[in-house]
């Protein structure tokens, strides 16, 4: 049980996908302007990360590894994740229209998001078993959610403040992103001390 908690917490805080691993920066900068779109995007990411792990983990273990095709991992995962997201969208549209409406535009956006691909590949690289991989995906998604929500708050503060003309727009956003990610550096080492193994 402790192991799951360690995986979950380290995925959320220490190895935060956006702020420590620098994956998924595109939606992080693109969709974080408003809180509600940031939340929608993050929920879609959590959902897709879990689905993608559930789909790619068996493929790696039962298809690629036994046949010595480990080097095809990246391309096969991209293929499977893209198809999976499309399938999920079709299913949602048919059976859960309300969820489809709220995730709506964000689902296709994350079809080939590198954070999603990163989670699936790192799950394999870390040598997790299936349950651990799922927990890690959940943690990564929650970490993405946390980063997005935090950063949308930061951005709305930036929008309202007086910025030098040359800094407006992307420069100040990137600077703020750097400082936000710097703050997450403070979490490194916390988990090792909390749960000594």
């Amino acid at each position: 049980m402790t192991k799951f908690i360690v995986i979950l917490l380290s995925a959320v805080f220490i190895n935060n996908y956006v702020l420590s691993r620098f994956l998924g920066i595109c939606p992080f900068l693109g969709v974080s302007k408003k809180l509600d779109s940031a939340t929608g995007m993050s929920l879609a990411v959590i959902f897709v990360m879990l689905m993608a792990t559930a789909a790619t983990y068996p493929i790696q273990k039962f298809l690629l590894d036994p046949n010595g095709l480990g080097y095809l991992q990246t391309i096969v995962f991209i293929l499977v994740i893209a198809a999976l997201v499309q399938l999920v969208e079709i299913v949602l549209k048919r059976y859960v229209p309300s969820l489809h409406k709220s995730l709506g535009v964000y689902l296709p956006l994350i079809t080939t998001n590198c954070a999603v691909l990163g989670v699936t590949i790192l799950n394999i690289d870390e040598g997790y078993n299936f349950a651990e991989a799922m927990v890690n995906s959940l943690g990564s998604g929650l970490g993405f959610f946390l980063a997005m929500v935090m950063f949308s708050g930061v951005r709305s503060t930036i929008e309202g403040s007086d910025i030098p003309e040359s800094f407006k727009g992307l420069p100040v956003t990137l600077t703020a992103a750097a400082i936000t990610s710097l703050s997450f550096l403070g979490f490194s080492g916390v988990i090792e001390n909390l749960f000594p193994m």
Partner: protein
């Protein structure tokens, strides 16, 4: 060598084909039945998303037409009769005439007729300028001339000419965005068949109005007396035309001719721009 390549290519191709097949089957099996009229309706609508119909953009109107029985087909003002005709064909209902509307600015105080009371150097926006002693013009009711309406106009039909906003009726689609934007509430929509417009909104007493603008309505009620249809009423020291009564005037233009200050203007709004659309 060849087998190495094939062992890599074949699994990927197979996975690709399987994924493709699953998607095809899924999209066929679980296709959501979209109203087939929706894309057709959407195509007819002009796509300006102006909201004149009262729905949230063209998509909203198309959706309402599909889902709610009895939604009128003549709500799209920018699209005018042409769109209404197409919509009623698609919906299978009777064609209803669209009352095309055109925005009119009820102010004629250009740089010659009125003066500024101070020099405004703030943010170049009417709503900002109005906050400072009711605007820079000596008439606090008049057009501020900083072009908030021109900025919001999707058709670029409004321009600031000599300090006053002017609507080009040929370009105006009657969406009404400018009427909502103008901080002075000077712009209103009138049916484009109308030919007489009061170009003043000053509600001060005649003497006060006279001092600030030579074009201003002084509320002398001369127009009230000469109008054969009793369509003009002076309300709050400013003439207002009741367009419902102002039809088939036997003595057309008499109000404008008799106006002491010249704030009642004849302007031919009668759908010049609609003709070109019908020709299409």
């Amino acid at each position: 060598m060849l087998t190495d390549i094939l062992t890599a290519v074949i699994p990927v191709v197979i996975i690709g084909i399987i994924c493709g097949a699953v998607l095809v089957i899924a999209s066929k099996l679980m296709a959501v039945k979209e109203d087939e009229r929706f894309p057709k309706i959407r195509e007819c609508l002009p796509g300006a998303n102006c909201g004149a119909c009262g729905f949230a953009g063209c998509d909203g109107y198309a959706k309402a037409l599909c889902e709610k029985e009895g939604t009128p087909t003549n709500l799209c003002v920018p699209g005018a009769d042409a769109v209404s005709k197409q919509l009623s064909e698609i919906m299978g209902v009777e064609f209803e005439d669209v009352i095309e509307q055109v925005a009119v600015v009820h102010c004629g105080g250009d740089c010659e007729k009125t003066q500024d009371k101070y020099e405004y150097k703030g943010i170049q926006s009417c709503s900002a300028a109005k906050l400072l002693y009711g605007g820079k013009g000596s008439c606090t009711y008049g057009c501020l001339g900083l072009g908030d309406c021109a900025n919001v106009c999707p058709q670029n039909a409004i321009s600031i000419v000599n300090g006053v906003a002017r609507v080009d009726p040929k370009e105006c689609i009657g969406c009404g965005l400018c009427t909502k934007t103008c901080p002075q509430k000077l712009i209103s929509l009138v049916a484009d068949a109308e030919k007489v417009v009061v170009a003043c909104s000053n509600k001060d007493k005649g003497a006060v109005t006279r001092k600030v603008c030579t074009n201003g309505c002084i509320g002398c009620k001369k127009c009230e007396r000469v109008c054969p249809l009793c369509a003009i009423k002076v309300v709050d020291n400013c003439a207002v035309i009741d367009y419902e009564k102002c039809t088939d005037c036997p003595d057309f233009g008499i109000c404008a001719k008799n106006c002491t200050t010249g704030c009642i203007m004849l302007s031919d709004l009668s759908g010049l721009h609609r003709m070109k659309e019908e020709k299409k």
